[in-house]
């Protein structure tokens, strides 16, 4: 799956990490590369629509154990960014509502936000708080 190689020249040990793009999106991969760019040059190569290789070339000197830990850290970080995408997908709507509500009532926003301040759970309940939470101007 991944192995050190010395394509960058004698003495420069690179690490190649294979990424399944069905598990980790290109955006999550690039965010991981962004954070690793301090210590490594990160070169992303697409092998197919589903598989990408990331070649990590250390900017300074690094030992073999550094290579191993870099690989582990890169994969862990990429998986975490994939998780963050899932959280964002599930919560971006309510986050927008939350922030709009927080700042419209503080007088920071010049215009009242579009839509209502409610949520799907309350909407389904006939006696829920949805009506109270709704923007009375709408």
């Amino acid at each position: 799956m991944d192995q050190p190689h010395d394509a960058a020249g004698p003495g420069v040990q690179q690490v190649m990490v294979e990424i399944n793009l069905a598990v980790i999106s290109t955006e999550a991969l690039l965010k991981t590369c962004h954070w690793f760019s301090r210590d490594f040059v990160c070169e992303v190569r697409n092998r197919s629509d589903q598989i990408a290789y990331v070649v990590l070339t250390p900017r300074g000197s690094a030992s073999a154990s550094d290579h191993s830990s870099a690989r582990d850290a890169f994969i862990t970080s990429a998986m975490d960014f994939a998780l963050r995408e899932k959280i964002d997908a599930k919560t971006s709507g309510i986050r927008d509502i939350l922030l709009a509500k927080a700042f419209s009532e503080s007088g920071v926003l010049e215009d009242a936000p579009e839509g209502v301040f409610g949520d799907t759970v309350e909407e389904t309940k006939p006696d829920g708080m949805f009506k109270i939470l709704s923007n009375p101007q709408r």
Binding site: K31, H34, W35, F36, S37, R38, T76, D80, F81, L83, R84, K86, I87, D88, K90, T91, S92, I94, R95, I97, L98, L99, K101, A102, F103, E105, S106, G107, V108, F117, D119, T120, V121, E122, K125, G128, M129, I132, L133
Partner: protein
């Protein structure tokens, strides 16, 4: 006759479905640290985030109840509490309401010190053309009072502002009169090295309710090395000035700040002990600012952020030890961050705000009438870079200052919620953007977080604090809470009794 009860389920039926609320996370101390939009946090076992995104969680578990209580998820019974979460978010961002509160008047560039790391392009003590004119002072006062903030702070800086004491005496009554007319509260602070303070000056400050903020870099050998002046007696002057100021103004009206130079790095303990010896109850372990003369002289005064962080670690450990031994002294940066981490509140400290405090929270009126987004912006200008010069008091209004190109370009890079590297960061709620710092150090207001000294410092310090919180040592947490609340520790109360 035995009393019987309905089963628990009759009162609180277990929820069958839950929904996620927005949060960010990181891995720390072998656990997952979850932080929500309001900065509330929870240490959870590894795998919790995956379980949340899969919506596969035991709704009877303590972890579920904790996640619900801390607003990481909601179900049918907690849905109305979204209003509470919105209120908490609003409270965290309270610093963006009300308008600019801190107004810095650079009344002169003159100074009799010649510090290597000085952030200001000082002039010799006799060159009066670098003093603020009365016409400029009038316009700056008017602009300060145009701020919608109900309470404003007028801070005199330099150079050494006491060398232009006549300008200070001109400004204070005018500012007070206008504040009264506009119904504003006015605090006044003078930032001075105290080398040329006199009893007459201090009596004037006492009568006008002016507070003093001075510099104390550590013991004599360090302070005098950092702050050369004729006679090599900056330390002796500062200590004498502190004592006289306390006598005339009162202990609470005198504060001190230190700057960490390369020479300071090996002396964290001695610096803290100096503050204790001088009976200060707070100390701010500040790194050197990468602006002004500090850029020119960085080969003498500069250092890598890693070395500062080691200094900070040593300093904080010693401060905690001093507190455990019964002397109360708070580390200010820790106090600021813990307030953000442990309470619903944000901070008035302009360097740690998002949107960034520059212009929103602070404006600097230079001696020549130029207005800058922050003290650091003015220092860049002294190095001939006027990127953050918002305008001039003689040509602009508050509206034009805030809608000009320099301000708008800066504002675009002012929210860490929208910056690469910050938008996903678990510590976003506790951290800041600081476009001026990143422009000065990286040539780019947006900045590159993986190589940013600002990010390195905050990430490291916040992780240290979370590690302490997770360890949950009772004595340590009692001390830290006392810094946040301003309340005495139980030990202090017992000793008073």
């Amino acid at each position: 006759m035995a009393r019987t009860f309905y089963p628990l389920e009759r009162f609180a039926p277990a929820p069958t479905a839950f929904h996620l609320l927005p949060f960010r996370f990181t891995r720390l101390s072998g656990k997952e640290l979850l932080v929500n939009e309001a900065g509330e946090f929870l240490f959870a076992p590894t795998g919790t985030v995956q379980s949340l995104t899969d919506e596969y969680l035991d709704t009877d578990s303590e972890l579920y109840r904790d996640l619900k209580a801390k607003h990481f998820l909601y179900d049918a019974s907690s849905s109305p509490l979204l209003d509470v979460l919105a209120t908490k978010v609003r409270t965290k961002f309270d610093h963006i309401t009300g308008g600019t509160k801190l107004h810095i008047f650079v009344v002169t560039l003159r100074c009799e010190h010649s510090c290597d790391y000085c952030q200001v392009s000082r002039q010799t003590a006799t060159r009066g053309q670098f003093d603020m004119s009365t016409a400029t002072a009038d316009r700056a006062i008017a602009m300060m009072m145009d701020s919608p903030a109900r309470a404003v702070t007028l801070e005199f800086q330099g150079g050494e502002p006491l060398l232009a004491f006549d300008v200070i005496q001109y400004i204070i009554p005018k500012a007070k009169k206008l504040a009264l007319e506009k119904g504003k509260d006015l605090d006044i602070v003078v930032c001075t090295n105290l080398a040329c303070v006199t009893d007459d000056i201090l009596h004037y400050f006492r009568d006008e309710g002016v507070k003093v903020s001075t510099s104390l870099d550590g013991p004599a050998f360090l302070h005098n090395k950092n702050r050369p002046r004729p006679g090599n007696n900056s330390y002796e002057k500062a200590i004498e000035g502190i004592e006289r100021s306390r006598t005339i103004l009162g202990v609470e009206s005198v504060a001190a700040l230190m700057t960490t130079t390369a020479a300071s790095l090996d002396h964290a303990v001695e610096i803290v002990d100096e503050y204790v010896r001088r009976d200060f109850h707070s100390i701010f372990l500040r790194p050197i600012s990468p602006y002004g003369f500090a850029i020119k002289t960085r080969h003498r005064t500069g250092y890598e952020m890693g070395r500062f962080l080691e200094f900070y670690r040593q300093g904080l450990a010693h401060i905690l030890k001093v507190n455990r031994n019964g002397y109360r002294i708070a580390e200010v940066y820790t106090q600021i961050l813990l307030t953000k981490i442990l309470t619903p509140h944000g901070t008035r400290y302009v360097d740690m705000q998002s949107p960034a405090g520059e212009a929103w929270s602070v404006l600097v009126y230079n001696y020549d009438g130029d207005v800058y987004a922050s003290d650091e912006s003015r220092m860049l200008a002294e190095m001939n870079d006027r990127t953050f010069r918002l305008g001039n008091v003689h040509k602009d209004t508050r509206r034009t200052l805030f809608t000009g190109d320099p301000a708008l370009q800066m504002f675009q890079a002012s929210c860490n919620q929208a910056l690469a590297g910050c938008s996903d960061c678990a510590f976003q709620s506790y951290c800041a953007a600081d476009p001026v710092y990143h422009y000065a150090t990286q040539g780019d207001m947006y900045g590159n977080r993986p190589t940013s000294g600002f990010c390195t410092r905050n990430m490291d310090v916040i992780k240290q604090l979370f590690s302490i919180i997770e360890e949950s040592d009772r004595e340590t947490m009692r001390i830290l809470w006392s810094w946040v609340t301003g309340e005495p520790t139980i030990r202090e109360v017992v000793e008073c009794v």
